[in-house]
C-alpha cells in the first residue's frame, strides 16, 4: 500500500469513526423506530379494531347526506380526504384538518359504517398510535427541522456505509470472511460489525439513500425534481373558492365513475377541491406496482364527473418513477406483510451496527477514558442510554395519546434547543475561563 493510499485509508477510517460516533445514537433510534414504523398501519388497526372493523351486511347506504352533515359541523374548507377501504367489513373515514391556532391543531378522523351510515368512532389522528410511530421516526417530534435532522442522519448512514465498505478489505487482511473471533468483547463486536455490515450493505445503502431524500426532500426536491411530479395545475380556476366549496358532490357516483374509466386503480381516497378548480381528486394504487401509496391520480370535474386529468406513474418519466418508488422502498410497503417482516429483520441491523461500532470505540478508548474522573463502565453506560431513550419514548407516547401532537412537540423543541443553548454557553464559559486563567498565569 502506497503512502498516499495509506493516508487516504486513515482519513476514511477517521470519517467512519466520527460519523458513527456522533450520528450513531440517532441512527440506532431511527433503526428501531423505523422497524416499528414498517407496521404502523397494521399496529393502528390492531389497536383499534372497533374503529376499523364493521359487521358485513348485504346492502350499503348512501353516505352522501352523512358527509354533508359532517361538512356543516367541521367546515367543508377543512375537508381532508374521504378514505375508502379495500375490503368489505371495513369502515370509511372522513378527515377534517382543523387549525384554530398554532397550538390547537387537530386532524379529526371520523369512521363511518358503510352498511348503516352510523358513525363508528371519532378521533384526532394526531393522537393515534399510527401518527405517533410515524412522527417519531420521520421527525423525532421536533417541530421545525425534525425531518431534516432525520435526513442528515440518513446522510450519515450513507457516509458510514460507504466509508465502512471502503475500509472493510484492509480490516479483513488477516481474517476469513464470516469468522467471529472470541478473543475479547471488542474483537467479537468488531467481527459482527463487519459481517453484518457487508451482508446488509445493499439494504442499508437503499435505506440511507431513500431516507436522506425523504428527510431532505424540502431542499433536494426543488433543486433536482422541481415540484412534486404529477400534480394537476390550473392557473385559471373556472369558479370562485366559495362556489367550489359549496358544490354538492355525489361521492358514490364519483367513485363508480372513477372505477369505470380507470379500472386498474384501487381507489383509496376522494378529495374535493376548494380552490376553485371544481375537481374531485381520486387517488389510489395499481396492483403489482411498487410505487408509494396513493401515487396514482385521477381528476374528475365536479360538474359532470368527466375526466380532467390522469397521472399514471407507470407511463411517467424515469425521474417520476424514481420519485414515487422511494417511500415504498424505504418502508417495505411493496410486497406484503412477509416482506415487511424481512425488512424489520434487516432494519434492525443499522441499529446493531451503530451499537457494535459504539462498543468497539468505547473498548478501544477504555484505557484513556479510565483516567477521566467521570469514567463509566461499558455495561452501566449502555443501560443508562437504553433506559433513558426508552423512558423518553414511553413518555412521548403517553403525552401524544393524551394531548395530541402539540404538547410533546413543544417539550422536545424546548428541551432540545435549551440543551443546545446550555451546552454552547457552557463551552463558551469554559473557553473564557481557560483564556482568563492563562492570562492570569502569564501576568504572574
Amino acid at each position: 500500500m502506497s503512502q498516499l493510499s495509506k493516508r487516504l485509508h486513515k482519513k476514511i477510517w477517521s470519517v467512519h469513526n466520527w460519523v458513527g460516533l456522533y450520528a450513531g445514537v440517532v441512527i440506532a433510534i431511527l433503526s428501531l423506530t423505523g422497524v416499528v414504523a414498517l407496521f404502523k398501519f397494521e399496529i393502528d388497526e390492531a389497536l383499534n379494531p372497533s374503529l376499523y372493523k364493521v359487521p358485513i351486511e348485504n346492502q350499503k347506504v348512501d353516505l352522501n347526506p352523512i358527509i354533508d352533515s359532517l361538512n356543516h359541523v367541521y367546515g367543508i374548507e377543512n375537508f381532508g380526504i374521504l378514505g375508502i377501504p379495500q375490503q368489505e367489513g371495513k369502515s370509511w373515514t372522513v378527515n377534517y384538518f382543523v387549525r384554530k391556532s398554532q397550538f390547537d391543531v387537530k386532524d379529526w378522523q371520523i369512521f363511518l359504517n358503510p352498511y348503516n351510515g352510523k358513525i363508528v368512532g371519532l378521533r384526532d389522528y394526531y393522537s393515534s398510535s399510527g401518527f405517533f410511530i410515524r412522527n417519531l421516526h420521520v421527525r423525532l417530534y421536533e417541530g421545525f427541522f425534525g425531518r431534516q435532522i432525520v435526513g442528515l442522519a440518513g446522510l450519515a448512514l450513507l457516509l458510514s456505509t460507504i466509508t465502512g465498505f471502503w475500509i472493510y478489505g484492509r480490516f479483513m487482511k488477516k481474517q476469513l470472511f464470516a469468522s467471529i473471533r472470541a478473543k475479547n468483547l471488542r474483537v467479537k463486536m468488531a467481527d459482527y460489525h463487519k459481517l453484518i455490515g457487508v451482508t446488509t450493505l445493499v439494504f442499508n445503502l437503499m435505506i440511507a439513500i431513500t431516507g436522506t431524500w425523504l428527510g431532505l426532500q424540502r431542499f433536494l426536491q426543488p433543486a433536482i425534481a422541481g415540484g412534486r411530479p404529477g400534480l394537476y395545475k390550473n392557473d385559471k380556476p373556472p369558479i370562485s373558492k366559495e362556489e367550489d366549496a359549496a358544490y354538492t358532490i355525489d361521492y358514490h357516483k364519483a367513485y363508480e365513475k372513477a372505477r369505470a374509466i380507470f379500472p386498474e386503480l384501487k381507489i383509496k381516497s376522494l378529495t374535493p377541491s376548494t380552490n376553485g378548480n371544481r375537481t374531485i381528486e381520486v387517488r389510489g394504487d395499481v396492483v403489482r406496482t411498487a410505487f408509494e401509496r396513493n401515487a396514482f391520480r385521477l381528476l374528475l370535474d365536479k360538474k359532470n364527473l368527466e375526466e380532467i386529468y390522469r397521472y399514471d406513474v407507470r407511463s411517467a418519466s424515469l425521474g417520476d418513477k424514481a420519485f414515487y418508488i422511494q417511500e415504498s422502498m424505504h418502508f417495505g410497503d411493496w410486497g406484503g406483510i412477509w416482506l415487511k417482516i424481512l425488512y424489520a429483520f434487516f432494519g434492525v441491523t443499522s441499529g446493531f451496527l451503530a451499537l457494535t461500532g459504539f462498543v468497539v470505540y468505547l473498548k478501544r478508548t477504555e484505557k484513556k477514558r479510565k483516567e477521566h474522573p467521570k469514567f463509566v463502565e461499558l455495561k452501566p453506560l449502555l443501560w443508562r442510554w437504553t433506559i433513558g431513550i426508552t423512558a423518553a419514548v414511553a413518555l412521548l407516547a403517553i403525552l401524544n395519546t393524551l394531548y395530541g401532537v402539540v404538547i410533546p412537540t413543544v417539550i422536545i423543541v424546548v428541551s432540545l434547543y435549551s440543551s443546545i443553548v446550555f451546552l454552547l454557553l457552557r463551552a463558551l464559559f469554559l473557553f473564557a475561563r481557560r483564556k482568563w486563567q492563562k492570562r492570569k498565569m502569564s501576568i504572574n
Binding site: M172, F177, A178, L201, F203, G335, W338, L339
Partner: protein, 104 residues
Amino acid sequence: MKDSFHKINEHYLIPILFVLSSMSVIALVYFVNECLHSETYFKSFYGFDATQIAAYKTKMQLFIAALIAVLALKVLTLKYKSWLFSVAIILVNTILLIVLIQQA
C-alpha cells in the same frame, strides 16, 4: 497463483455472495408472498380469471425455485470455497435478479 485466487475469493467474492444473498432473500419473500395470495384476492385485486391465476402461480413458483437453487448453490460454494464457483454463482445470481426484476 492459487493462493492469491483463494485470497480474492475469501476477501471479496464471498462477501459479494452475501450481499447478493440478502437481495435474493428479499426477492424470495416477495415471490412467496405473491404465490400465497388467495383466489379471491387474485380475482378482486388483480382481476385474474382461473387460467391467469394458474399461469401466474406457476411463474412465481418458477422464480422461487430458481432463487432457492441459487441460494443452495451458495451454501455449497461457502462449504468448498472454490473461487471459480463463486464467480459463476455471482454471475448467475446477478443475471437472475435482473431478469426477475424485469419479469415481476
